[in-house]
C-alpha cells in the first residue's frame, strides 16, 4: 500500500514536472499546444441544437410541453387571482393582505409557537406596509404552484429509483450533472420551448427544484427500518398499501426535508427567473440594481430575505415536528382550537378589509418606505469609506485580479491538462487522473477555453479569499460551544438566501465591476467554509483532545496536531460546497459585467441559443463535477487514513 502510494506520488510529481515544463517552455511550444487548435474544436452546440430541433418539431415534444404549460398557466392564473387579484377565474381575489398575514401567523404558531408566528406574520405585514404586496405575491404564486409539482415529480421519480436499482444507477449521474448545472442553463431550453414570462418562470422553477426531492425520497425510503416493513407485510398489506401506508409515512421526515429544499430552490430560481421575464420581486430587484437605486433595492432585498427565512423555518418546523398525542376525550372545539381561531381571524380580516380598504390593499402612495434614509445613510457611509474601497478596488484589480487573470490565460492548455492529471493522480491514481483530464478536455473541445479560464480564475481567487476569511473565522467560532452555535445559526440562515441577494451590498460598496463580482462570490462561498470548519472542529471526539491536553500540548499544538487533521474531511466537504457556490455565483454575477462563461450564457439566453447555452452550462457543470470528484476522493482518503 505504502509502496503503491509512493509510486502514485512519484508519477504525480513527474506529471507536475511535465506541466511545469510545458508552461515554462511556452515560447518554443507549437501553437497547437498552447490554444486548442481549430480542428480540435467540435461543434457541440450545433449537435445539441439539432437534437433539440428534432425533439421540438419531429417528436412532437412541443405539443406535450404546451399541454403541460397550459396546466401550469391555468394554476398560475388561479393563484394570481387569489393572491393579487389578476382578473382570471375564479375571480374572487385578491384575498386581503391581513387575511394572508393572519394565516401565516397561525401557521407559524401551529408549527412552532410564538416566535415563528411573529416571524411569519411579521414578514407579510412588512411586505404589505412597504407596498410590495403585488410583487411578492407574483413571486409567491409561482412557488405555490411549482412546489407541489416538484414534490410530486420528485416523489414519483424517487419511488421509481428506489424500486429499480437499474433506474437509480441511470438517474444518479443525471442528478449529479443536474445539480451542478448553473441556473441559467435551465432557462435556455425552457425559453425555447415555452417562451418568456411567468409560465416559463414557473416551469424552469419546477424543473430546477426536482433533484433534491428525488434524493431525499430515495434516502428516506431506504432508511425505513426493516421490522416496520415486515410488520406491514405480516398485516397483509398489498404492495401499494405497503408503499403508501407504511414506507412513505415512515420516511416522513426525510420527505419533508425534501419539500423544504424544494421550496428554497424554488425561491432561489424564481428570483433569478426575472431574467426570462418572470415578474415579481426578482424582476424589481434586477431593475433597481441596474438603475443603482440602492435604498429601494435594499427594501426588496429585505423582503426576499424575510420571505426566505420564513419559508425555510416554516417548512423545517413542519419536517421536524414529531407527532404528539392530543387529548382524546376533549370536545371538537378544544381539539381544533387553532383551526377555530384561524377561521375567526380570517373572518375579522375580511370584515376589516371591507370597511377599511387599507387592510385590503396598501396603495402605492400609502406605502411606507425606508429607502430615503437608507440612501442617505449609505451615501454617508460610502463617502466615509470611499477612500478605502477605492484603494481596495485599485489594489485588487491591478495587483491581484488582472495579473492572475493574465496568468491563467497565458497558461498553455496542455499545461493545465497535465497539471490536472498530476492532481488527479496524486489524489486517486489513474482513474481520477483520467476523470479530471476528460472533464477539462471536453471544455477545451467546446471552443470556450479562454472564457472558461476566466471563470476558473474568478472561482479560484474567490475561493482562496473565502478560505482565508472563513477558516480563521470558523476556528475562532469553534472555540466556545455557544459561539459555535450562534455562528452556525447565522450560516444556516445565510444559506437560505437566494444567491441574488448577495449582489446588493457589494454593488453598493464597489459599484459595477470585477471586484464587486469577486466580493459577492467571496461572501457567498465563505459561508460553507465557516460552517463546515465549525462542524468539523466541534465533532472531534473529546477523548482525543483530552489525550492531547494530558500529554501537555498547548492549545495551538492541539489545534494543529489533533483537531484540524481530524476535522479535515468535514472541512473538505465545506470546500467542495464553496467551489460549487462560487461557480453558480460567478455565473449569476455575470450581468454585472464579466468576460467569462457567464457573460456568454447571458447572451445565449437573450438570443435563445439552446446549443450554446447547454454547452456553456455543461462546461460549468464539468468544472464543478471535477472539483467534486477530486475533493471527495481526497476526503475519503483522509477519512480512511484516520480510521473514521
Amino acid at each position: 500500500m505504502t509502496a503503491r502510494a509512493a509510486r502514485g506520488i512519484g508519477l504525480a510529481g513527474l506529471l507536475l514536472a511535465i506541466a511545469l515544463g510545458l508552461a515554462l517552455g511556452k515560447p518554443v511550444l507549437p501553437l497547437g499546444l498552447i490554444r486548442p487548435p481549430e480542428w480540435l474544436v467540435q461543434p457541440f452546440a450545433d449537435w445539441i441544437n439539432a437534437a433539440f430541433y428534432f425533439l421540438q418539431n419531429d417528436l412532437g415534444l412541443m405539443a406535450l410541453t404546451r399541454a403541460f404549460s397550459g396546466v401550469v398557466e391555468w394554476l398560475l392564473d388561479v393563484t394570481a387571482n387569489l393572491l393579487y387579484g389578476k382578473s382570471r377565474w375564479p375571480n374572487i381575489g385578491p384575498i386581503p393582505w391581513v387575511v394572508i398575514a393572519a394565516t401565516a401567523f397561525m401557521a407559524g404558531y401551529a408549527l412552532k409557537g410564538w416566535r415563528l408566528a411573529a416571524l411569519s406574520g411579521g414578514t407579510f405585514v412588512w411586505i404589505a406596509l412597504m407596498g410590495q404586496w403585488k410583487w411578492a405575491m407574483e413571486t409567491l404564486s409561482v412557488i405555490v404552484v411549482a412546489t407541489p409539482f416538484s414534490v410530486f415529480l420528485g416523489l414519483a421519480l424517487g419511488v421509481l429509483a428506489w424500486r429499480s436499482p437499474r433506474f437509480e444507477r441511470i438517474l444518479n449521474p443525471i442528478l449529479n450533472v443536474a445539480q451542478s448545472l448553473p441556473h441559467f442553463a435551465y432557462m435556455v431550453p425552457v425559453v425555447v420551448f415555452i417562451g418568456v414570462g411567468p409560465k416559463a418562470g414557473a416551469i424552469v422553477t419546477i424543473i430546477f427544484s426536482v433533484p433534491p426531492m428525488i434524493r431525499m425520497t430515495l434516502l428516506g425510503l431506504k432508511k425505513v427500518p426493516e421490522e416496520v416493513i415486515e410488520a406491514g407485510k405480516m398485516a397483509g398489506t398489498t404492495r401499494w398499501q405497503l408503499l403508501s401506508r407504511v414506507r412513505i409515512p415512515t420516511a416522513r421526515a426525510e420527505i419533508l426535508i425534501g419539500v423544504n429544499q424544494v421550496i428554497m430552490q424554488c425561491l432561489a430560481m424564481v428570483v433569478l427567473a426575472s431574467f426570462i421575464g418572470m415578474p415579481g420581486l426578482g424582476q424589481k430587484l434586477l431593475q433597481l440594481l441596474q438603475a443603482l437605486k440602492i435604498g429601494l433595492s435594499v427594501e426588496i432585498g429585505v423582503t426576499i430575505v424575510l420571505l426566505a427565512i420564513t419559508l425555510d423555518r416554516l417548512s423545517k418546523a413542519w419536517a421536524f415536528r414529531l407527532p404528539e398525542h392530543g387529548e382524546p376525550s376533549a370536545m371538537w372545539l378544544r381539539r381544533n382550537r387553532l383551526l377555530v381561531i384561524w377561521i375567526g381571524l380570517c373572518a375579522v380580516g375580511f370584515m376589516l378589509a371591507r370597511f377599511a380598504p387599507y387592510f385590503h390593499e396598501v396603495e402605492r402612495n400609502q406605502a411606507l418606505s425606508v429607502a430615503g434614509p437608507i440612501d442617505a445613510a449609505m451615501d454617508q457611509l460610502i463617502r466615509l469609506i470611499a477612500p478605502l474601497t477605492a484603494w481596495l478596488r485599485w489594489f485588487l484589480i491591478t495587483w491581484v485580479l488582472i495579473p492572475m487573470r493574465d496568468a491563467y490565460l497565458w497558461l498553455p492548455f496542455t499545461a493545465v491538462l497535465t497539471l490536472l492529471a498530476a492532481l488527479g493522480w496524486a489524489v486517486g491514481g489513474l482513474r481520477s487522473a483520467l476523470i479530471c483530464v476528460s472533464y477539462f478536455a471536453l471544455i477545451a473541445l467546446s471552443g470556450w477555453w479562454d472564457r472558461a479560464m476566466v471563470t476558473v480564475y474568478m472561482v479560484s481567487i474567490s475561493v482562496l479569499i473565502a478560505a482565508a476569511i472563513g477558516l480563521p473565522l470558523g476556528i475562532w467560532a469553534a472555540r466556545s460551544p455557544a459561539r459555535a452555535e450562534r455562528t452556525l445559526l447565522i450560516c444556516d440562515t445565510a444559506q437560505t438566501f437566494p444567491s441574488f441577494i448577495y449582489l446588493i451590498p457589494v454593488i453598493m460598496l464597489f459599484g459595477v465591476n470585477d471586484v464587486a463580482v469577486v466580493a459577492a462570490v467571496v461572501v457567498f462561498a465563505a459561508v460553507p467554509i465557516v460552517r463546515y470548519t465549525i462542524e468539523g472542529l466541534c465533532n472531534v471526539p473529546s477523548e482525543l483532545v483530552e489525550a492531547a491536553e494530558m500529554s501537555g500540548a498547548t492549545r495551538r499544538q492541539t489545534l494543529w496536531n489533533v483537531r484540524l487533521p481530524m476535522a479535515l474531511p468535514t472541512m473538505l466537504v465545506g470546500a467542495n460546497q464553496s467551489v460549487m457556490f462560487s461557480l453558480f455565483m460567478v455565473i449569476i454575477a455575470a450581468f454585472i459585467g464579466t468576460q467569462d462563461l457567464g457573460q456568454e450564457m447571458q447572451r445565449a439566453l437573450s438570443s435563445t441559443d439552446v446549443g450554446k447555452g447547454m454547452v456553456l452550462g455543461f462546461a460549468i457543470a464539468f468544472m464543478g463535477l471535477m472539483t467534486d470528484h477530486l475533493i471527495t476522493r481526497w476526503s475519503e482518503g483522509r477519512k480512511r487514513a484516520l480510521g473514521v
Partner: protein, 337 residues
C-alpha cells in the same frame, strides 16, 4: 385434531452475494469456505402440530429470528421447503400470500416494528384495516386488546411517546387483535417487567388452550420456556440441535451443546414424575404420584416417603409404573451420576 400446522424440510437460509450458488457448492463439498456468507439457518427439519406451543431457544445470532422469518416467508428461503397446513408457501402467489397472512398469521417483532406515524390505536387497528374491517369495528376491537395489555388511556399516544415495555405491549396487542391461527412471537416479552410478563404468559396460555392456536415462541428465558412450551427447540449456528419436550431435553440432551445449554437449570422444576417411570419395575401398592407433577412439586412427599419404589399414576388415576426414589432425589438435589 392433531394434524401438522407447519412443516419444514431441509430449510436453509444463507445471506450473501450468491446464496443459491453457495448452497449448491456446500452440498457438493461441505468443506467449501463460507467467507462472505452467513448460514443463518441450516437444514432445519421441523413439524409443528396444530395447537402446539414450540419454544425456540439459542444464543444470540443462532438464527432464531431468521428461522421464524422463513416460516412466515418474510424472507425467501435458500433451500428446502416450508408448508403451512399442507401447502408449500413458496408456491403461493403474492395475492395468496397476502390472503394467508391476513387470515392466518400474526407476529410480534423483537424490536416491535411499530409504525411511527400512527397512534397506538391506529397501530393496533392496522392489521384489521388491511382485512377491510370498518372503522367502528376495528377501533372497538383495538380498544379491547389495548385494555387487555394494560394500555387503556394511551390510545392517542404515538409510539415514540411510550417506554420500551409499553411499545412492546402495543406490538403484542396488534397481533392479539386479529387472533391468528399461527402466531410467531419473537422475544415478545423481553422488555416487560416480571409482573406483566407473567400476566401476558397466562393470557397466551389461555388463548392457546381456548382456541387451539399454534404458537412459535422465541425467548432467552428458560423459566418462560418451561412455563409455556410443549416442545423446546434449541438452535446453534443455524441448526436445530434438539427439539423435544422439556424433560427429555434436560434428562437426555442430544448433544454436548444442549447439555451445556441446560446445565444451569434446576432439573427438579422441569422433570415430571412420568419421565422417571420405569414400567419394568413392578408397581408397588399404596398412594401413587401424579405423572404430570414435577419433582419439585413432589419434594415434600419425596423426602417423607419411605418406599424405595413409588407408584406413578397417569391423569386417569391408572398406575403406569414405578419411580425410583433415589433417582428422584438425585434430580431434586442436582446430584448427577
Amino acid at each position: 385434531m392433531t394434524e401438522t400446522a407447519i412443516s419444514c424440510r431441509d430449510v436453509s437460509k444463507i445471506f450473501g452475494p450468491d446464496p443459491a450458488g453457495h448452497l449448491a457448492r456446500l452440498k457438493a463439498d461441505p468443506n467449501t469456505s463460507s467467507v462472505g456468507y452467513v448460514q443463518a439457518v441450516r437444514d432445519v427439519n421441523l413439524d409443528i402440530r396444530r395447537g402446539e406451543m414450540l419454544v425456540v431457544m439459542g444464543l444470540s445470532g443462532s438464527g432464531k429470528s431468521t428461522l421464524v422469518r422463513c416460516l412466515s416467508r418474510l424472507i425467501e428461503i435458500t433451500g428446502g421447503s416450508v408448508s403451512i397446513e399442507g401447502q408449500d408457501i413458496a408456491s403461493l402467489s403474492e395475492t395468496e400470500l397476502i390472503d394467508l397472512r391476513r387470515r392466518k398469521m400474526g407476529m410480534v417483532f423483537q424490536s416491535f416494528g411499530l409504525l411511527p406515524h400512527r397512534t397506538v390505536l391506529d397501530n393496533v387497528a392496522f392489521p384489521l384495516e388491511m382485512r377491510g374491517q370498518d372503522r367502528r369495528a376495528r377501533y372497538a376491537r383495538a380498544r379491547e386488546v389495548l385494555d387487555l395489555v394494560g394500555l387503556e388511556g394511551r390510545e392517542a399516544y404515538f409510539p415514540r411517546e411510550l417506554s420500551g415495555g409499553q411499545q412492546q405491549r402495543v406490538g403484542i396487542a396488534r397481533s392479539l387483535a386479529i387472533e391468528p391461527d399461527i402466531w410467531f412471537l419473537d422475544e415478545p416479552f423481553s422488555a416487560l417487567d416480571p409482573l406483566i410478563r407473567r400476566e401476558m404468559q397466562d393470557e397466551f396460555l389461555r388463548l392457546k388452550g381456548l382456541l387451539n392456536k399454534t404458537i412459535i415462541f422465541i425467548t432467552h428465558d428458560f423459566d418462560e420456556a418451561l412455563r409455556l412450551a410443549d416442545r423446546i427447540a434449541i438452535m446453534k449456528d443455524g441448526r436445530i440441535e434438539q427439539c423435544d419436550t422439556p424433560d427429555q431435553i434436560v434428562l437426555h440432551p442430544a448433544t454436548d451443546y444442549v447439555a451445556k445449554f441446560t446445565a444451569e437449570i434446576d432439573r427438579a422444576r422441569v422433570v415430571r414424575a412420568g419421565a422417571l417411570v420405569h414400567s419394568l419395575i413392578p408397581a408397588p401398592e399404596g398412594e401413587a404420584f401424579a405423572s404430570n407433577r414435577t419433582i419439585r412439586d413432589l419434594a415434600r412427599c419425596l423426602v417423607a416417603e419411605r418406599r424405595e419404589v413409588i407408584p406413578v399414576a397417569d391423569a386417569d388415576g391408572k398406575v403406569i409404573g414405578g419411580m425410583n426414589r433415589q433417582e428422584a432425589l438425585d434430580v431434586l438435589l442436582g446430584d448427577e451420576k
